[in-house]
Symmetry: C2
Subunit: 189 residues, 2 copies
Amino acid sequence: MPPKFKFTKEEIVSAALNLVRKNGMSALTARALAEELGCSVKPIFGLFKNMEEVQKEVFSESKRLYDSYLQNGIKTEEYPAYKSAGMAYIRFAKEEKELFKLLFMRDRSEEKIEENREEVRPLINIIMQKTGISEDEAYMFHLEMWIYVHGIATMVATSYLEWSNELIDKTLTDMFLGLKNRYSKGEKD
Amino acid sequence: MPPKFKFTKEEIVSAALNLVRKNGMSALTARALAEELGCSVKPIFGLFKNMEEVQKEVFSESKRLYDSYLQNGIKTEEYPAYKSAGMAYIRFAKEEKELFKLLFMRDRSEEKIEENREEVRPLINIIMQKTGISEDEAYMFHLEMWIYVHGIATMVATSYLEWSNELIDKTLTDMFLGLKNRYSKGEKD
DNA sequence: TATATTGCGCAACAAATGTTACCTATAAAA
DNA sequence: TTTTATAGGTAACATTTGTTGCGCAATATA
């Protein structure tokens, strides 16, 4: 008996994501979102309790988009598995600057890197395979490598650095080999 | 004949900096600043055209504070000159998270790292001395080293990483030596 | 001591944003 | 075709923040 909904939740979140990817979370206001959708603010508050709920959805959607970058990188096999993760992180930073800032350049005291060791176990395993070092060393190896990747990504996301994919590719390889050389030294001597 | 000013510009900027260092630039509102000073908003607008002007002063003051970190690091000679710069950058990120975000984790399209080569010439000179590589290579060396330093600093500023100064010290040395080894290879062979 | 100048506190106004009440229009069921 | 539940548009209200007008009070000078 009631009229049909003008938009689905998904359509609203999609429009919201569009605003955020262009101008950051602060651009996501009720009126701006309504304008983006071509309606009043009512359809939004009909489907979401409040704007905070929309923000959370946009945040989750951003994570999903980043995951798709990761998966795509692995799938296409453009790079070896380990480098693929770093390249995907940096590509996301380059192509989705605002979303990268949202996910990776905010307070992260609730998700400290050293408390999330399980999350990166696949990457640590790759390092152990490729270098033959111990797990603890491989973890430290990964941390150092990821600091470098994160350094590039944050510089790219803030438009401070503009390296080509080729140069990024090359320096990641060099850094990996440099670390491998350093971490393997104890074993080889 | 008129009454004395209740506060100087410096006192107001100092109070403003206090708000920003605690909760970021968004915490710097006219009313919050007035409360911090213990007065109405009038003294602020008597000495500053508007809040934007106060923000600019806070920004400049933040830069001065960072410079003092740099100078202090060099002066105390706790570390070799090159490492001193990196350690100061990271210490600033650790001790002044909000100010670090303000200075180094925002849009920087107007001050790209590769257009500011002159600014880091002293650091490049140190690298040339310590490694004997060419200037262009030393520039690239510095870029890679600084990416690593920036990576640590941003992770620290967002509370994602909590390394001790000792560990930071050690990994900076290792990274420097690793890069030196890599960049010098062509010369030695 | 009287006066003129003007900084200051209070309160108001404007703009941006979140949120909601009210009424109209719609669409499925009877 | 009529009825009824309810989505949507309009406009209002609340809150936050920047900014300013008004009248009082402080202070150096005559």
